[in-house]
């Protein structure tokens, strides 16, 4: 892990000093435990702040499109499997040009779900979490405990199908195994297992703590619409209140807009301040896309996204 971080710092410093890129987007160590954050290095000195850890839960591809155009030129970006797949998606959707991005590929160690760690110490304050090999060392005021990382990874990391980047300009470490052995189809769309009559309650129960901050949307590299449907005022598609119907509309439609595009990076769930399992929506949609079109987003720069084309043999059982 530290070797990868060192390689990222060295490479970033080199790219910046040689003028090959104007900015390197990576992660830096956060001010609170388990929250390393997106960091923009513009000079070789700033590149020394870059890090790599199991606490890098944001999807950096987000920052390739959320910057005012022309503000920066060519950028290098640290990308693990899911982030690289998002980059592929953005290239295919003509949001960025391949030649404008220099991809520093990293094999993903699987990211830690800070809530799972916190849940081990209910109501206690965690003051420091460090990585020691395969374990985390969690410290609080009156405790210190080791937890194996594999017990507290984010849900999406267990079922990741591509930990290694799919497109790369330079690798920052050896490629690792592509998955953890988890089967996404076995755990995707958890409410399918419920009776139809029980699903609505499960759905509302999941989203009833939503505060409509839209962090899930804003953390997502797919959500780059200039005006999001929830911000449309004429007509106002989605009400602004905490009424169940308004909150439900937001969650259903946000997920629906990601259909055939979501790489299951988990940035939405990591961003949610309320711990809502928003992947319960997107995992259902992507499972349908795999079943109907045998397609996983972002795996291949050449593949055609199924929802952007018409084929005579497209499934149409839903049409009468």
């Amino acid at each position: 892990m530290e070797a990868v971080a060192q390689k990222i710092r060295e490479t970033a410093a080199k790219l910046l000093s040689e003028g090959k890129v104007d900015c390197v987007i990576g992660y830096a160590q956060g001010t609170v435990p388990m929250r390393d954050y997106p960091y923009f290095a513009y000079t070789p000195e700033e590149a020394q702040n870059l890090t790599w850890s199991p606490f890098c839960c944001n999807n950096l591809a987000n920052f390739l499109i959320r910057r005012p155009k022309g503000e920066i030129g060519k950028v290098a970006i640290v990308a693990q499997g899911c982030v690289s797949r998002s980059i592929v998606g953005l290239i295919k959707e003509n949001q960025i040009a391949r030649e404008d991005v220099y991809i520093l590929g990293v094999p993903s160690p699987g990211m830690v779900d800070r809530r799972k760690v916190q849940d081990r110490f209910p109501l206690k304050t965690i003051t420091e979490v460090t990585v020691d090999g395969e374990d985390l060392v969690v410290k609080g005021k009156d405790f210190e405990e080791r937890i194996p990382q594999k017990e507290v990874r984010r849900d999406n990391c267990y079922t990741c199908v591509q930990r290694n980047p799919v497109i790369v300009d330079e690798m920052m470490g050896e490629e690792g195994p592509s998955d953890w052995g988890g089967n996404i189809d076995a755990v995707a769309a958890p409410w399918e297992k419920l009776e139809p009559g029980e699903r609505w309650e499960a759905f509302i129960d999941e989203v009833d703590s939503c505060i409509r901050c839209y962090a899930c949307r804003d953390a997502c590299p797919l959500c780059y619409c200039h005006v999001c449907f929830v911000d449309e005022a004429m007509p106002q598609w989605c009400g602004k209140t905490q009424d169940e119907a308004d909150v439900a509309t937001f969650h259903i439609l946000r997920a629906f807009h990601c259909a055939g595009r979501c790489t299951d990076c988990g940035a939405c769930e990591s961003a949610c301040p309320q711990g809502i399992k928003v992947r319960r929506f997107t995992s259902k949609i992507e499972k349908d896309i795999r079943e109907l079109y045998d397609y996983s987003p972002g795996m291949d720069l050449e593949a055609t996204p199924p929802l952007s084309v018409y084929r005579p043999n497209d499934p149409q059982e839903f049409i009468k």
Binding site: P196, W200, E201, E244, I252, F281
Partner: protein, 56 residues
């Protein structure tokens, strides 16, 4: 969309898709009957209802 709505608990049979040409009057009539019967059978919608009237 249909699949997603059913996944979150909207009853199957509330959302219908049909492909009807402007020349297919009979199919249109039949579909409308089928849709209304299917929705009537389900009764009033229970979910995604925003009733802002004062609760008496």
């Amino acid at each position: 969309m249909k699949s997603l709505l059913e996944y979150v608990g909207i009853e199957p049979g509330r959302l219908h898709f049909s492909w009807i040409s402007s020349a297919e009057a009979t199919k249109f009539q039949e579909t409308v009957v089928e849709v209304t019967e299917s929705v009537k059978a389900l009764g009033p919608a229970k979910h995604m209802i925003k009733d802002i009237r004062k609760v008496a």
